[in-house]
Symmetry: C2
Subunit: 441 residues, 2 copies
């Protein structure tokens, strides 16, 4: 290693130049690492597309692409693509899908698809004057962005409304134009940001030319979409008679199983420590579909968690009820997804994912994604309130430890048996291997 | 397409069997898709490792792996691996790293590394009796999990404390053992869950044998770690005299630039609609490092967003101050990361990522990751409050549209020039191409 840790003009280097600098300065065996990183490259044409998504790329990171079949959603059966590096997630989704397939499946409904943008500005004058002019402002701004909206309007989207909101006194003289949109089958971030930046320019012009407003100074701070989209939301539910809610194992009545599930959800509604992990499980499923379809999981996470905190406390996104012997389990979550635009049609595997889902529109994709989130939540709670989360996890964990300790196939098979009723830890497995490997005395 | 959408025993099929069923039932051109999906496979040895991470895997999903050099953190310079599919993120991180490298770099500090686990149970008796017995319960439970903790204790971790908390009356007779841990350089999920499940069994046994407690029934509901880890937190800051805070472009004084950045952060503290996107930008940077190092981004997102909502309103995770002409910009965020265990040493590229960072321990990795989050936030705000977010984004967006419309290299170069001062939309680019491609008349 040369040990040159700083560099000027890195982004201007060719891909090979970048790679060379990296391996020579940060790795003990530059040639070996160079060879390895190159081995992950795709053929030129495809690699160029991938490199176009980001910057300073030197290779690719592989995530396992799995599928969860048998998802019956609104009467249609899907095989859902999932990209995730965590064990048990795809297995859990598949298992829950199968469970509910024989109990009527998932009922999903898109409640609305309103997206949000904000133009933040300072207005050094009487805000009530601004409020008075809002009908006029709205009319002018909508007119001025008409060109930008033409294509979107043809697809059924466009600007929905513009409201004035004040952030004073916390932000002295701080206000915002709160703009709502629909963006049809695209996630719409670029469309919204483009429209907002144009509106901002036209808003200043309007204020400068308007009789009543031009006395006070108006200054734009920033214009950008919001990922908090409580009105771009989908609801998905499963339900069945408590009698049909068969529990895993033999020790638990269906009614007791239902009550345990119900209580687990109530705890996640009341306790933020539990809610965080409860919702994390939901996102295990959701993000896997989001990634597979070329959508943006950071946007989806931000929307979901902000929504989970909407009433002043961070709470479960799913809910549960038992009424008249009917078990009902549901999830309401904001999902601003796209099936056109962005990476959805550019990433070769995202395109295949959408094809596997029979090319859904954005609302169908939101319904599918939410159903996987609910399935994931159901499977996690089912394990948690019965056999415990570790039974399944530990088998996987044990395999990973054994692999790391370079156990043979025979040793692995024996260890899986041995640890069936014992606690798995790195220490315990190492000790176990030491014993079985030591010469019999 | 055969159109068989449901299947029994799918998980029992071989990988090839799964792939075959998928392509035959969900794709128009099974052979082509089969060939394509197989083309993403790694060599057998590596592929087996990847397939071990998840279930029902049929291929791999590629994400671009980029690097952001010149990150000066606590006096040491890093080149940070980032895995992300969103454009501008790596470029923004690199640019902010460079900017702060010449202004003293990032100062990061791990505040604490406390992890949390919960054992939820019903106790049908007088909870004050339970509370009275807690010192004894704590002593017994810690003793009973000693074996499981041996290896972790050698590495400096283990059980920290056990508290009794009540969820009554919302959850009738609902209580929890709130258990805190340190887990050294591992994220610790499996360790925590294993210890909790063992503790739960021993807790019931204790209650059944204890004079004062055995009169009432105790029933475990579930035992699992919490991803809400407010005490596993890192703080990272940059600061410089306002005089040195040079703004991009020429129209803005350094003081005005500082004030605009400051106000943007204040808005994100006050307005959840802004906070969601503000924090989303932070996670763009953080998740890219989390993915690259084989950590779990759903866990990190859940922890961060729950923390953002801790005071009853969802707020910015970063903060900003201008005092005595000193600009200070910081981020406090929970980050429960590992540098051993899980995928960190199993995924071939995660291992290389950690090597590129010179094999940091978990605290160093948390510091690096938080610094990238802050850098990302700085770069996003710098664009937002000056040229606007779209200028950079749009160039990328334009390239993507042109690529999709199969523009030639010459057309792309011309279009980039033409659209420099115009709004980019699918419609506008299509129209532009139609014009330049039509025969001159």
């Amino acid at each position: 290693m040369k040990g040159e840790k700083s560099i000027a003009g890195f982004s201007k280097l060719s891909k090979r130049g970048k790679l060379k600098w990296i391996v020579e300065n940060f790795f003990k065996d530059p040639e070996l690492v160079m060879h390895e990183l190159k081995s992950y490259w795709l053929p030129d044409e495809q690699q160029k597309i991938l490199d176009g998504f980001s910057e300073n790329t030197i290779t690719n990171f592989h995530l396992p692409f799995g599928v969860a079949p048998n998802f019956l959603i609104n009467g249609k059966t899907y095989c859902v693509p999932m990209v995730i590096e965590e064990s048990s997630v795809v297995a859990a989704a598949s298992s829950a899908a199968k469970y509910w397939q024989s109990r009527g499946g998932f009922q999903a409904e898109v409640i609305d698809t309103i997206k949000v943008g904000q133009i933040h500005f300072w207005y050094q004058g009487d805000a009530s004057q601004l409020q008075l002019q809002m009908p006029k402002i709205k009319q002018v701004l909508v007119e001025k962005v008409r060109d930008l909206c033409l294509a979107m309007e043809k697809r059924g989207g466009g600007v929905v409304d513009i409201e004035l909101k004040s952030l004073a006194p916390q932000i002295p003289n701080g206000h915002q134009l709160f703009v709502t949109f629909r963006t049809a089958d695209s996630m719409g971030a670029n469309f919204i940001n483009t429209v907002l930046e144009k509106m901002a320019i036209e808003f200043v012009r309007f204020c400068q030319e308007d009789e009543a407003l031009r006395k006070a100074e108006v200054e734009i701070l920033m214009s950008i979409l919001s990922n908090h989209t409580p009105e771009c939301r989908v609801r998905v539910e499963v339900s069945c008679p408590v009698d049909s809610l068969s529990a895993p194992g033999q020790d638990l009545s269906n009614a007791a199983f239902a009550h345990r599930l119900y209580t687990a959800v109530q705890i996640a509604l009341e306790d933020p420590f539990r809610a965080a992990t409860h919702n994390k499980g939901i996102f295990n499923g959701i993000d896997a579909v989001v990634l597979a379809t070329g959508n943006d999981f950071r946007a989806v996470e931000a929307a979901g968690h902000t929504y989970a905190a909407r009433d002043g406390q961070y709470r479960s996104l799913s809910y549960c009820s038992i009424e008249d012997d009917q078990f009902r389990f549901g999830l309401e979550i904001p999902l601003a997804l796209g099936t056109v635009g962005g990476l959805t049609n550019l990433h070769p595997m995202a395109r295949r994912s959408l094809e596997m889902l029979e090319n859904p529109n954005a609302e169908e994709l939101a319904a599918i994604t939410a159903a996987v989130g609910l399935a994931q939540n159901f499977a996690a709670l089912r394990s948690l309130v019965t056999v415990g989360i570790q039974q399944g996890h530990m088998k996987m964990h044990l395999s990973n430890i054994l692999q790391r300790l370079e156990a043979t196939e025979k040793e692995i098979a024996q260890a899986l048996l041995y640890f069936r009723d014992k606690a798995v830890s790195q220490q315990a497995v190492r000790e176990y291997l030491r014993l079985v490997r030591s010469p019999q005395t």
